[in-house]
């Protein structure tokens, strides 16, 4: 821009310089010419007077190289001439200036000389005696004058040019300076040329849009990062060259790496299963796989990303499925346990029945067998009842009616029910405390306390004691069932709530029970949002406490 301004202003100055020199020269030249003619007129006046007074001799006295004076008769013949011999000159009557002088009294004419480098001005005047006096002088043509003046003109032009160059340079620099100094960060704050205002406004607007878009983009990225970072699921995005584009910290945890140094996902994990997944997903297929490590199980879900029917990458989500896999395992165990537990009494029932089927059995044996079958059937019934109970609690879909239950009254009822059982072992059941109301499901609460007390009686020593302590403070109800029984070894205390878990498998057979009692208690407590604590010492006794939250259920 600086160059362009400079160049065009120099060109303009040059043009003006040349035209002005030419114009001035033209005007001056014109002026010189008319000046010359006037001079000739005046001279002609003087000479004509001189000739009238002194005659033709005056002419011969004039010896001027530049001027030529001719005296012409009215018929055109030359009477006298200061340069040439009068006789040798032809008739001048046809000359333009002479003709004009004859007609009008005076006349001028301009003619080029033979060489063209000079011009001759003729002036003719009619004298009193009718003769015509003609004076001519030669002067240089414009070109010659100019050529003569070339040195001073060149000098002037040179100086003018230098000055103009300097000025142009300065002007262009001055023009550009504020533009260069524009503050484009804040375009609207600049106050320079009015012509630039619309441009600056436009820039300001664009800046605003860009700022906004940038802010949006950053915000979106932050949101994205926040979401992915707070995901428990691992999240990976790769392109079709298997470069990692995005990942979150959970993904790093699942892939068991501390940092992603390389951008290549194969360098993170190159196991067969993983490679197969990448291959399949990058060929445009959704792929799911599960990997099982010692302690955790992960499920990889890989989805291809398409753009214009081409796979451009893949999104991989990694889920921790340890819990659900474990639950599945538990369920399988439960099923096999249930079948086993159901099979045992059924086998004995079928065995006794088979013996009796043959008909040769003595009567007293039949009674024995029948009572055995009855016992086993009872066991089956209670087992099935327990299983139903626990699966109902498992389902959580069954809706129970909730009501206010007084645990103290309930405990008294249960103690009453267990009375005969306790008497067999001479176990004393004490219910201590007073009214303590909780909101809950009577059926489940009954089952829970019954199971606890039943265990306390069953696993008690002869002449033992079972205390059921109910108390409430600050709206929180606590129920403790304490016995003086055989206790549970410390190593097994956290397992007794598992389904079908038996501390002593041999003894359990004699005592009976389904192995589901404490599991039901645990589930019931969970249902009521209550907390279970178990304290036990071998051969001293066990105490199980259930704390109900004040605002429970």
């Amino acid at each position: 821009m600086h160059k362009k301004i400079f160049r065009s202003s120099v060109l303009i100055t040059l043009f003006i310089l040349i035209t002005s020199v030419a114009l001035i020269m033209g005007i001056l030249y014109d002026y010189f010419e008319s000046q010359l003619i006037n001079e000739l007129k005046r001279e002609a006046g003087y000479i004509s007077i001189a000739i009238e007074n002194e005659g033709l001799d005056y002419l011969s006295g004039i010896n001027d190289k530049n001027e030529r004076i001719t005296l012409i008769a009215p018929d055109g013949t030359v009477i006298a001439d200061t340069v040439a011999d009068a006789e040798s000159l032809e008739n001048h009557g046809s000359r333009e200036e002479v003709k004009l002088a004859i007609q009008n009294g005076s006349g001028t004419s301009l003619r080029y000389s033979n060489t063209l480098t000079e011009r001759i001005v003729y002036y003719a005047v009619k004298m009193e005696d009718g003769n015509i006096l003609r004076i001519s002088t030669r002067y240089h043509t414009v070109i010659i004058v100019l050529l003569g003046l070339i040195q001073p003109i060149a000098f002037v032009v040179l100086i003018a040019l230098l000055i103009s160059l300097w000025l142009c340079h300065r002007v262009s620099v001055k023009l550009i300076e504020p533009i260069n100094a524009l503050d484009l960060e804040h375009p609207e704050n600049n106050e320079i040329y009015d012509e630039l205002t619309p441009l600056l406004k436009k820039i300001a607007n664009q800046r605003k849009t860009i700022d906004k878009q940038l802010k949006d983009a950053i915000k979106m990225q932050e949101e994205f990062k926040l979401i992915t970072e707070n995901m428990n699921e691992g999240f990976l995005v790769i392109d079709k060259e298997m470069r990692i584009l995005t990942y979150n910290s959970s993904a790093m945890k699942f892939l068991d790496i501390s940092e992603i140094g390389s951008e290549n996902i194969l360098s993170v994990n190159r196991s067969k299963e993983f490679r197969k997944m990448l291959e399949r997903v990058l060929s445009g297929e959704r792929y799911e796989s599960e990997t099982e490590a010692e302690e955790s199980c992960c499920r990889f879900i890989a989805n291809p990303v398409f753009a214009e029917d081409q796979v451009i990458g893949a999104v991989i989500v990694i889920l921790d499925v340890t819990e659900s896999v474990n639950r599945e395992k538990l369920r399988r165990e439960f099923t096999s346990n249930v079948s086993h537990e159901l099979k045992t009494p059924l086998t004995s029932i079928s065995g006794f029945a088979e013996i009796m089927k043959n008909g040769d059995t003595p009567d007293e044996m039949v009674v024995d067998f029948s009572s055995a079958i009855y016992d086993e059937a009872q066991r089956l019934i209670s087992l099935v009842a327990d299983i139903m109970q626990i699966s109902e609690l498992d389902e959580k879909s069954v809706v129970y009616e909730k009501e206010t239950v007084d645990l103290y009254v309930l405990s008294l009822e249960i103690a009453e029910r267990l009375h005969s059982e306790a008497d067999k072992k001479n176990v004393k059941i004490n219910v201590i405390g007073d009214t303590a109301e909780v909101i809950g499901v009577r059926k489940i609460l009954d089952e829970m306390i019954y199971n606890l007390c039943d265990n306390a009686v069953k696993y008690n020593k002869n002449n033992g004691v079972v205390d059921i302590i109910v108390n409430s403070s600050d709206g929180k109800v606590k129920l403790i069932v304490r016995d003086t029984g055989i206790g549970i070894p410390l190593s097994q205390q956290d397992r007794v709530f598992e389904r079908f878990y038996r501390v002593d498998k041999a003894r359990s057979k004699a005592i009976g029970g389904t192995g589901l009692g404490l599991a039901i208690v645990k589930h019931g407590a969970m249902y009521h949002n209550a907390e279970i604590r178990l304290e036990s010492k071998e051969n001293e006794g066990t105490s199980v406490s259930i704390s109900f939250q004040g605002d429970a259920v």
Partner: protein, 214 residues
């Protein structure tokens, strides 16, 4: 132009990782077959070897194409040159894993394993191969150097196994064929260890430009 080249280099890198992973699998299968005698593992090992051979051809032509079309220099050239060397080592590992799987058919390790440290050797070699591939994948010099030192351990175990086998022969062990086979397997393991070391050396070369032998 450069972009396309970068992409091709990345592809080469991925292919090498895949081939390395296949080697790891092949040797793992062979060892599984040796110890557990699961016939499926033998098939897997042979299958992996075939895949490795195919991969070698693929990578080879890939490298040639890169060399001719892109005429790489410096690091890029070193990567391709060392890739060409590495794949032949990997191919040998695959072959030897297959050989182990084939010989294992006639070996009855069960009554020998307590006396011969062949399983220790297998473990050490698997570890070595894993590490050599890891050093390439992670471009990690430390791991590469550790592979080179590990080769000495494998050589030591080889000598130990040899000695144990000699003892078994001297004591008149009745299954002489198994003993000879185990010696061959041990030798194969030792060779695999050497190849793993070679791979580690080429990894070092591709990173630093210096090869151990020069």
């Amino acid at each position: 132009m450069r972009n396309r080249f970068d992409e091709q280099l990345l592809q080469l890198n991925n292919e090498l990782i895949r081939m390395g992973a296949l080697c790891e699998e092949a040797i793992a299968y062979a060892v599984k077959y040796l110890t557990d005698r699961d016939a499926e593992m033998r098939e897997n090992a042979i299958d992996a070897e075939k895949k490795i051979d195919r991969k070698e051809r693929e990578i080879e032509s890939h490298c040639m194409k890169l060399l001719m079309h892109q005429q790489p220099v410096a690091t890029d050239f070193r990567l391709i040159a060392s890739a060409l060397k590495m794949i032949s080592d990997m191919e040998r590992i695959g072959d030897q894993a297959e050989d182990i799987a084939e010989i294992s058919e006639y070996v009855h390790l069960s009554d020998l394993s307590s006396r011969v440290h062949i399983t220790d050797m297998a473990e050490a070699v698997i570890h070595m191969v894993n590490n050599s591939i890891d050093s390439f994948v992670k471009k990690d010099l430390d791991i590469a150097y550790s592979v080179i030192t590990m080769d000495d351990t494998v050589d030591e175990i080889f000598l130990k196994v040899k000695k144990e086998l000699i003892e078994a022969v001297q004591n008149g062990h009745d299954d002489a064929e198994s003993l000879i086979d185990i010696l061959m397997i041990a030798k194969y393991f030792e060779r695999i260890g050497d190849h793993a070391e070679n791979i580690a050396e080429w990894v070092i070369y591709s990173i630093t430009g210096k090869h151990k032998t020069t």
